[in-house]
């Protein structure tokens, strides 16, 4: 048995090389290394919909398999890319849920995910220019570390205020009011074009 086939965890570079070569072992090593994390994130966004979670994780593998040449190691780690792909795939799943009105939502889905399901169609047609995205990147990049954490947890991972409060050792009310203030501040800065 070679080292590759063994139980060792490969470095990201080796996994990427294998996927570049379209070697399926790369995909299985990728799953060995990151599957637990991906499932955890998918579960945070989608709740306990196990079939959706599985589909979401598999779609992420498929996307990375098909578009590995777009991966830029200098910009961010493989883990970050995987998280972004998975998150956007999960958001698409939520959007599908909002279209299927008859489908039942799980109880453990977060308040913000429910809100997104209810309101995603209102903002569906809105297109953002590269400048807008860059501007928002700068605004978030200039936030305090704790504020940035709150924004990313709430609007990137769609974590509930309760979970955020637990992780950041704040109260739920404090999280909500701080996020509300942050949204107002970000909106002002966005409109003024400060960054």
């Amino acid at each position: 048995m070679s080292v590759l086939e063994g139980g060792l965890n490969l470095k990201d570079e080796a996994i990427i090389d294998l996927i570049y070569e379209k070697n399926e072992l790369g995909l299985s090593k990728l799953a060995d290394k990151y599957e637990k994390l991906l499932i955890h994130i998918a579960k945070t966004i989608l709740g306990s919909r196990s079939r959706d979670i599985e589909e979401c994780v598999n779609d992420t593998y498929l996307k990375i398999w098909n578009h590995i040449e777009q991966y830029d190691m200098e910009k961010a780690s493989l883990k970050t890319y995987l998280k972004i792909i998975l998150r956007n795939t999960a958001i698409n799943k939520l959007r599908d849920l909002s279209r299927r009105e008859e489908s039942e939502l799980p109880d453990d889905i977060s308040d913000i995910a429910k809100y997104y399901i209810d309101n995603s169609q209102n903002v569906e047609g809105k297109v953002f220019s590269k400048e807008n995205i860059k501007q928002l990147s700068n605004i978030i990049g200039h936030l305090k570390e704790i504020d940035k954490e709150l924004v990313i947890r709430k609007y990137f991972y769609l974590q509930s205020s309760k979970d955020i409060a637990k992780s950041t050792k704040m109260t739920v009310t404090a999280v909500d009011s701080r996020l509300s203030r942050l949204r107002t501040k970000m909106k002002k800065e966005f409109e003024k074009g400060i960054y």
């Binding site: 994390l37 958001i91 953002f128």
Partner: protein
Amino acid sequence: MDEALLINIIGQLSPELLQDNYMEKDMKKGILSFLGIVLKKIIKQQNGNSFFQSLSNKNEYEKSSEQDNRESDSRKDSIETGKTYHNNIVEYGNKHIMESLKNHIDYLNTDTSDTSTEDKEDYNLNTRGLSISIFKKNIRNLIKVISGIAATFVVILSIIIILIVRHKSGIKLFKKRIQVIY
């Protein structure tokens, strides 16, 4: 800023901005607290279950088997069965706990090998509040006894020093008196 809009736009941000490790932290916390709960439950079961305790004491079995030498062979057989049953339970329990611990610790070590975004906190089990103190129970007791003896010794020594310092003149007088008597 509209929340749904923010959710849409935030997914398109630059990956450099999203190199966080919040979810990894949450996951590790979850795993460690879960392991802590499992370990506590196992310890409780081992300590609280009298059946298990009585089985775990091998000497008791040996004593009882010596006493029962005169009794029938069937009794011996039942004790032997009990012993093997006990050993199997303990072996299975230990193996299971160690395997699950090893798997989780391996996962925690390997999953965070990416250095660019890694959590700088040291996730040493000893520093994360996991109740593995039971493994060090004997050492801890020994340390307690030694520190108790040392503390007593220090207290006695300090009392003696205080007494000597306070009654210095008295001791000198006592010495002089003895000299005068001589």
